[in-house]
């Protein structure tokens, strides 16, 4: 059987994730630290203030299919990643259509 075991050989693909953070000391660093600790390749990063005490962060990350869900869950569990309004307890959006529309899924 042995189905679904992680073997670390999956090929990473670049995706774009967007986070809204509470803009407090260490918030952005904690996100980046998590990505580094979990060996997620960071291909690009941009951020901008979103109001007085919020920060919108756009991450271009190289992740495997196996990594993706787990890292997103872990990101969403960080105290400064803000819960989105509505039912989803996660302040993380994965822009499935972003790569197709913007053509940025080439690792550049």
């Amino acid at each position: 059987m042995n189905k679904g075991r992680t073997d670390g050989t999956e090929r990473p693909e670049v995706e774009t994730w967007i986070l809204r953070l509470r803009d407090r000391p260490g918030a952005l660093e904690r996100v980046l630290s998590l990505l580094r600790r979990r060996r997620v390749g960071l291909e690009g990063l941009s951020f901008a203030k979103a109001g007085e005490d919020r920060l919108d962060v756009e991450l271009h990350v190289g992740v495997t299919v196996v990594q993706r869900e787990r890292i997103q869950v872990e990101l969403a569990g960080l105290a400064d990643v803000e819960a989105a309004e509505g039912e989803e307890p996660v302040g993380l959006r994965r822009l499935d259509s972003f790569n197709e529309n913007e053509g940025t899924n080439d690792g550049t």
């Binding site: 075991r5 992680t6 407090r24 000391p25 260490g26 196996v66 869900e69 569990g77 307890p89």
Partner: protein
């Protein structure tokens, strides 16, 4: 209304009291002095002065593990704060709820490389669940509430609160102090209820898997101890006659004297546990994270099994072993709900149990029994005990009196893990994830304060003990009845073992020339004895157990001895090496 003049530090004390804190472990210094000044007038907050900040974190950790409450440690800025890092990492790896308060230089000089300034918030990001820098006194109550909530919630962990000196010293107007906090108070130990809308559907699937399994096993981790669901696991196992495997941090979740117990899995686990994992067709994992010391190479772990993981932290799911089914939620909710959905299978499993019984449940049968009748040492009573014999005698003494024990890291840790059998909840504390040498003594200090009704033991090797032995001063100052035991083999024993087995016997930097340990203990004012012969062991342990204050016992054991069973690095669990015929014991010689 409270109109008493106050400052930020006193407000922090108020917050601690509100969160149910009664004891803090720390070491003062310049940047935390306003807080210590406020503490001076707060008898309801007991402060324990440690001799090194690492010990403050470990003591808070031991207190938290023993009580289930949040442990609190504090340190000054700069080196005080950096000394906490190992303790915070230890707690993070083992899911222990801590709040660490650190002094910081005043905000007007932050960023100037001021005296004793260090970016402790940045330093601790990878080893904490969260961190706060309090930049204004107005934020104190909300930050403190959030810190405790984060530390306790979900998978517990350490939280850092960095407190600039001017924030501690700031005068707090009465109107500020009496305004309602925007963060609701947390309750000790509460966790959010599971929110997965598919939870009950998943539980039904898990129950169906169990109903259909022919070779099921339960694996229990620290999550069961932390959630206080040991009884629920036992009831489930007994109802279905399910074999139970307990990881290093789950040893105190299920008695290994129970007929359903298979023992500990992994690198130094029992043959029965490891072979059961490799032949199982279903593994029910409760509150564990499938550490690499448990699984061996992930690709070869439990090749025939479907795996169902019950875990509070969704981020743990799939980090190493990817389960076939994950039940994400608090075990206090999910385990009873799961049990209610299963059908009795007690009549099944005979074939599986017949197979399980062909493998040894004991780690070693080649041990002289120090507590045995007659002449248990076969004429070798004047020889030094082996490390395993010492561990077996210790385990019997500790568990026989309902005690609690912290162990350090290395060979003695594994022997104690193998020999402790009773599994009384929250009685065994060890650094399982980080493997922190120097943990045992300060953690025992915290545990002794947390559970004064239990006899507290700290068991360390001669290597680890020397990393935090200065805490004997803390034990004496507090007159704590901690029984300190050093299992002394004159080596960094596990390093030496690996060098013997995997580096062709090249003992590089693993030989220790220690001091006379008992003499050191006496210098601190602790009554001490040294055991050098097998026949001294039992009486020495009884002497230690009867003590009403701190005592110290050095047990000089055989110098070169290996921990078995052993799964060699890179090998499958079922490729474990069981104990070879032991060599004749040699006299202990200390360099």
């Amino acid at each position: 209304m409270n109109d008493r003049p106050t400052n930020g530090a006193e407000w922090i004390c108020d917050s601690l009291v509100e969160e149910g804190v009664r004891i803090l472990f720390g070491h003062p210094g310049g940047a935390i002095l306003p807080f210590y000044d406020a503490l001076h007038g707060r008898p309801e907050l007991r402060h324990v002065l440690v001799r090194h900040e690492q010990a403050a974190a470990h003591a808070a950790d031991g207190y938290a593990r023993a009580t289930g409450n949040v442990g609190v440690c504090l340190a000054t800025s700069g080196p005080g704060a950096t000394n906490l890092v190992t303790g915070l990492a230890t707690a993070a790896m083992d899911s222990v709820p801590l709040v660490a308060l650190t002094g910081q230089v005043p905000t007007n000089v932050m960023g100037t490389d001021a005296f004793q300034e260090v970016d402790v918030l940045g330093l601790t990001i990878p080893v904490t669940k969260h961190g706060f820098l309090v930049e204004s006194f107005e934020d104190i109550p909300d930050v403190m509430r959030e810190a405790f909530r984060v530390a306790r919630s979900g998978r517990p962990g350490p939280v850092l609160v960095d407190l600039p000196k001017n924030v501690q010293a700031a005068a707090v107007p009465a109107y500020w102090r009496n305004r309602p906090a925007s963060v609701p108070p947390s309750e000790n130990g509460t966790r959010p209820a599971p929110t997965d809308p598919r939870l009950y559907e998943v539980l039904g699937q898990a129950a169906e898997l169990l109903d259909n399994a022919l070779r099921p096993v339960i694996m229990v981790g620290r999550g069961v101890v932390a959630s206080e669901t040991s009884e629920c696991v036992r009831a489930l196992a007994e109802a279905h006659r399910l074999p139970v495997i307990t990881t290093l941090l789950g040893l105190d979740a299920f008695s290994r004297n129970h007929p359903l117990s298979l023992g500990m899995p992994g690198m130094h686990g029992t043959a029965r546990a490891n072979r059961a994992i490799q032949e199982a067709d279903l593994i029910l994992g409760f509150g564990l994270r499938f550490d690499d010391r448990v699984t061996g190479p992930v690709a070869s772990f439990a090749p025939a099994a479907q795996i169902v993981l019950f875990e509070v932290d969704p981020a743990v799911v799939g980090r190493t072993v990817k389960p076939d089914l994950a039940v994400v939620g608090d075990l206090r909710t999910t385990l009873p709900a799961f049990r209610g959905r299963t059908r009795s299978r007690a009549h099944r499993g005979e074939e599986w149990w017949g197979r399980l019984r062909t493998w040894s449940r004991d780690p070693s049968s080649t041990v002289f029994d120090a507590a045995g009748e007659g002449s248990p040492f076969g004429g070798l009573e004047d020889q030094p005990p082996t490390g395993r014999e010492a561990a077996r005698a210790l385990a019997r003494q500790i568990e026989g009196a309902g005690g609690q024990v912290s162990t350090d890291v290395g060979q003695h840790q594994m022997w104690m893990a193998q020999e402790l059998k009773e599994g009384a909840p929250a009685t065994h504390f060890t650094s399982g994830g980080l493997g922190t040498m120097g943990y045992a003594l300060p953690a025992a200090i915290g545990a002794a304060f947390g559970r004064a009704d239990r006899a507290t033991w700290a068991v360390a090797g001669d290597g680890g003990f020397q990393m935090t032995l200065q805490e004997m001063a803390t034990v004496v100052q507090e007159d704590l009845p901690v029984r300190i035991v050093v299992v002394n083999n004159g080596y960094l024993g596990m390093v030496r073992q690996w060098q013997e087995l995997f580096f062709e016997g090249r003992y590089s930097a693993s030989r220790l020339s220690g001091p006379d340990m008992s003499a050191v203990a006496r210098a601190y004012g602790i009554p001490a004895r040294t055991v050098t012969r097998r026949d001294e062991l039992t009486s020495a342990l009884r002497w230690a157990d009867a003590a009403t204050g701190p005592v110290f016992l050095e047990i000089r054991v055989v110098n070169e001895e290996n921990v078995y069973p052993l799964v060699p690095p890179g090998a499958r669990l079922d490729e474990m090496v069981e104990e070879p015929i032991p060599p004749a014991p040699e006299p202990a010689t200390l360099p």
